[in-house]
Symmetry: C2
Subunit: 342 residues, 2 copies
Amino acid sequence: MTVTIKDVAIKANVAPSTVSRVIANNPRISEKTKKRVRKAIQELGYHPNLNARSLANQMTNSVGIVMPESASKSFQNPFFPEVIRGISSYIQSREYSLFMVTGETEEAIYEGVVKMVQGRRVDGIVLLYSRVDDKIIQYLIEKKFPFVLIGKPQQTAQDITYTDNDNYSAGREVTEYLIKLGHTHIAFIGGSPNLMVTKERLSGFREALLMADLQISNDYICHMEFLQEGGKEAVEQLFQLKQPPTAIVVTDDLMALGVLSALSEKGYSIPDDVSVISFNNVILSEISNPPLTSVDVHIFQLGYESAKSLVEKIEAPDLLPKNILVPYTIIERHSCMKQEGR
Amino acid sequence: MTVTIKDVAIKANVAPSTVSRVIANNPRISEKTKKRVRKAIQELGYHPNLNARSLANQMTNSVGIVMPESASKSFQNPFFPEVIRGISSYIQSREYSLFMVTGETEEAIYEGVVKMVQGRRVDGIVLLYSRVDDKIIQYLIEKKFPFVLIGKPQQTAQDITYTDNDNYSAGREVTEYLIKLGHTHIAFIGGSPNLMVTKERLSGFREALLMADLQISNDYICHMEFLQEGGKEAVEQLFQLKQPPTAIVVTDDLMALGVLSALSEKGYSIPDDVSVISFNNVILSEISNPPLTSVDVHIFQLGYESAKSLVEKIEAPDLLPKNILVPYTIIERHSCMKQEGR
DNA sequence: TATTGTTGTGCAAGCGATTGCACGAAACTG
DNA sequence: CAGTTTCGTGCAATCGCTTGCACAACAATA
């Protein structure tokens, strides 16, 4: 049926072990034999059975990526495809493959991860999110299984390798930007408060207000889903207040689009009536109306670097954990404006 | 180190084979033994080594998904995440896992596929695209490896299982819709002419014009990349013509967004000056400005059904190939308008 | 009681690779 | 030229699981 290493061995008139060594390019095999074996491999169209190989040498040459439990929904957010692209790009160059773990519920994902890990399907895992009290992280730590996090781990966790932006600073900077434009009533719309990103950006936001002696009202802080509807709902809430904000920090472009459209439905014009600044700088932000001022967090690189760290960790497990901060850049477009008078 | 089937066997005081049968829930094992073994499994936290299992029983319980070669770029198109979600959703319910094949070049992807297939990493493959003269399809057919196509195969190929919309009809219907609105100068902006979707929709488009006795000019037919920039470039071309179109059929929402923004940059207002109708109905179309009239092709279902077909095919290889047509729906929003006068 | 059937388990041979070790041949040494 | 290295290859065990077949134990039958 399938052509195995034995077939090659017979054809090349050597032992299977020799074929194996040729594939591994073992220096102890003579060039002459190598050539002969390679020819046989070619002619037979032989490809090693990766399961057998994995079984024998205890490694799979593939890594798993774990989507947040809301994968079903959040996959709509361009953040994920892009970060996966980054991962995939590096992974590819190192001849690894990609396994995906998705699931409807947290429990399902957890099961999936356990199955991958204990089932030895992957050599390492990259988690596409970081949130508080995560069962999966606990598990991986316990099992001493190589993994990296995209986002900051909850505990100052010196022993977790992660890749992230400096979201605290970014949150602060963005807010300061709005303050400099003269805004004093600034709202914050973020994703789930369980996500580390949200927490970090929020505390940056708070810090900026504090430094500027502005009041921090809880009415101005919303936590919604990372999707457009999230943005819309938030707007509903905020613009019912007797003193609605004149500027909004939104932690995600997709939400920001929701904000934009909800706002213009309500008859507000942007940026004249309210300024909006958001995060991620996915392609959409460029073509929204008006184009969004957004923080480019370099999603691709986030993925790329995390994959790189992971592979390093897989190949040298005793290496110290390593944290990579990917820089961010505020991309100014047309959704923010100076606030005249008060 | 890791706990194997032997450890369980010892702990439960049975032979490894018995443990194996308990896991497979083989009826020949007594309930009493089963209980005992299950308890041991629980207590040891045993999970079977999937590589070993795959090796032994010649199946992996996972499927591969292949992105188009431009994955690097096209992943930005929300179509893909959504279709993957659909696949993943079904796959999950059947306890399969997902392997991803991506790559920068067609060659790289091809290699990846071969590696998966011969390496026995997956039991089947779903191709996320269909294009003419595809090497991968050839290969899979030749190897008699189970796969399904999302999109219509090139050859009338009665022996290929695929899931698709009736893109020919959709193309025609959409065009007729514009004709009914009074448009006589209708352009078509599509993706690569190698893609079957493009071909099908285009011929539907042509047919509609033909039926309405309208002229078909090649100047009105553009082929671009499935991205926003594609849309922009197309607009550049079309609106240099001495007689620019008053309505445009765009085969993808993302491109349509590009069209929209290019158009408004040029000072055209939509839908007053030019009507735009597009395909896919990704979330963006809803919040674009104006909201896009778009054909909902039910991407999720496309993925879901194809996964279903694939699993069926894996589990009953001799089943006749099966083609599923997922219905489409035109979602009217605000990017099309009646054309007054001539 | 001897014979035939069940039922539940275990033995051992795979699945297709990798790898430590042994070993014959060739090339070096003195 | 005998003795020691070096080089290239093969043997066989191993990775962890599945499964056909054999077989012991016990029940049912004659």
